[in-house]
Symmetry: C2
Subunit: 341 residues, 2 copies
Amino acid sequence: MAASIKEVAQRAGVSLGTVSNVLNRPDIVSPQTRTRVLEAIEELGFVRNDSARQLRAGRSRTVAIVVLDVSNPFFTDVVRGAEAVVEGAGGMVVVCNSGGDSAREHRHLDVLEEQRVQGILVTPVSDGKQPRLDRMAKRGIPVVLVDRGAGLANQCSVAVDDVLGGRIAAQHLAERGHKRIAFVGGPTSLRQVADRLAGAQAALSEQGLAAPLVVETPVLSVSAGRQAADEVVALPAARRPTAIFCANDLVALGVLQALTAHGLRVPDDIALVGYDDIEFAAGAAVPLSSVRQPREQLGRTAAQLLLEESTDGEHHEHRHVVFQPELAVRESSAKKRRGTR
Amino acid sequence: MAASIKEVAQRAGVSLGTVSNVLNRPDIVSPQTRTRVLEAIEELGFVRNDSARQLRAGRSRTVAIVVLDVSNPFFTDVVRGAEAVVEGAGGMVVVCNSGGDSAREHRHLDVLEEQRVQGILVTPVSDGKQPRLDRMAKRGIPVVLVDRGAGLANQCSVAVDDVLGGRIAAQHLAERGHKRIAFVGGPTSLRQVADRLAGAQAALSEQGLAAPLVVETPVLSVSAGRQAADEVVALPAARRPTAIFCANDLVALGVLQALTAHGLRVPDDIALVGYDDIEFAAGAAVPLSSVRQPREQLGRTAAQLLLEESTDGEHHEHRHVVFQPELAVRESSAKKRRGTR
DNA sequence: CTTCGAACATGAAACGTTTCATGCGACGGA
DNA sequence: TCCGTCGCATGAAACGTTTCATGTTCGAAG
């Protein structure tokens, strides 16, 4: 069905090698032959067979990114960043979705390995050691870890400093004059949640403030946030926090809704800071202050590291890049707290 | 670097063809030879070269999906649906992101064609005729259009009936006793918006109700919704609608925020229905009624049509499947309007 | 003891490229 | 006139599989 180089050669009345030259080094073939070949290609609707090309060449121009969840805006932004870099370098990105399922991740990696992709950006499902990935690294397939396992020896990695993020948020609230601050989010078994909490605790203790009241939620969702806020509201006024730092914007939105429903005003009665700066944070009823991660940047850098490693080959020095989050200050934490308490 | 079948054969002391048999039809090779080969594979860390396999076999087990926007939950759900079906059939899905950019779409399709993928699910950037896609169809690459161009002759397609969606929403509000209903959304040059509006208009006219007040927005966003709601609120009470149907949930959320800010209660003063049933619709301050599209189903069906076409080959009858949206009724439109006016 | 078939294993051909050493004119300089 | 070069085209080899017609061996049936 599909025409091959051979048929093109025949039709153009040239040899097979010449057609290949037209395709790959058009400058070394005479203009007239070239146009003749190009015409033949056009007429036959010839499309290069990438399998054959790759088989011969040994290398591919495809970079894969295996994400935990295609529907998570964090990853989609990372993907966009990676695309920008890879396409800029003439390559192509394919996105694979592990969906947090270890078996699917495994299957994806298998296939990608068989495809001999140029390299893989991956946020592995499990956080620990990765013999699988080590093996690939050893085999010469560049792997860059995204938002995971900074510090492993066999791969480059990019990540965002969640401890710092928690610190920034808490510091901001402290500067605004808040003394009783709560942390809402969970489960703390998630590294991200634990880090953000740790950062907040550290910042508060440095400022000489009391440790935050921690309201742990089972998941990071709007409704979990609402329930947690109900608990907070139920506290006697004297012990009620004047500010809440949420582990994530979904939780923060839930908290915001519940507070509003109870007649408490944000930020006057209780200030609020979220995390992730999702699209809805700025669009919330009270625009939400939120810790922003440089998501596209993360993807761009990951892709750059990958391409570097791909070029360097053998003697590549693995690097671990850690980005700093920053705070987007909006109305939910805008005002200075007047007076003490 | 990477071991080949030949080396495996050598190490296992068998012929090259036998190794291939172990890989592809393990049953026809004796257990002892098989284990010997498998051991060799293990020891050498052999990984099949898919390029060679595909070159020889001529066909691929990869299905591509080219989406308009990876960060749009609509598409990510479609992707998940397609993945379920394709992986169930032993294939693999790769996701490509055109980002609404025609040139990128083109490049993606080029590459996919070169890769000889099994088929392509695509929501083309431009809505009209697609000589490009026709060409692929002619060449025998199955293409299924997603949410576009139902009615074109050369491809299968799946879509959701937006006219019906608009109709359902308006009907629901009419049943709740609303007489003055507004439509907020735009630009109406978007087919989706126009269809939803048309459906709403049809339903209202059938019910003998006045045509809806149309507040056109420049885009479908939260802030556009807020602005539109400001306009509505500014109307004299006698002309103010008692219900608003929004072209999309983002707009509806904006409207909800603005109404609340103006002291109007939802649904008591004004009822609200959105479209898309995004995750935040149920989690909004007032849980939002919304027209839900069967997004995963869309992806599943698209993938099924693709696989069918792939199997049928020549004499395949293109099909156009249109799904019906349904209304998720929540608090924002829950109550019956008491009395007339 | 021969013959047949079953059960496996074998090796060469083919898939469509890219690459590279080689061929072939023509042209300019000695 | 001859040689060296330059510019371009050529064709065969190689990439790693799968497939298929062809061996080979062994045991059972005649």
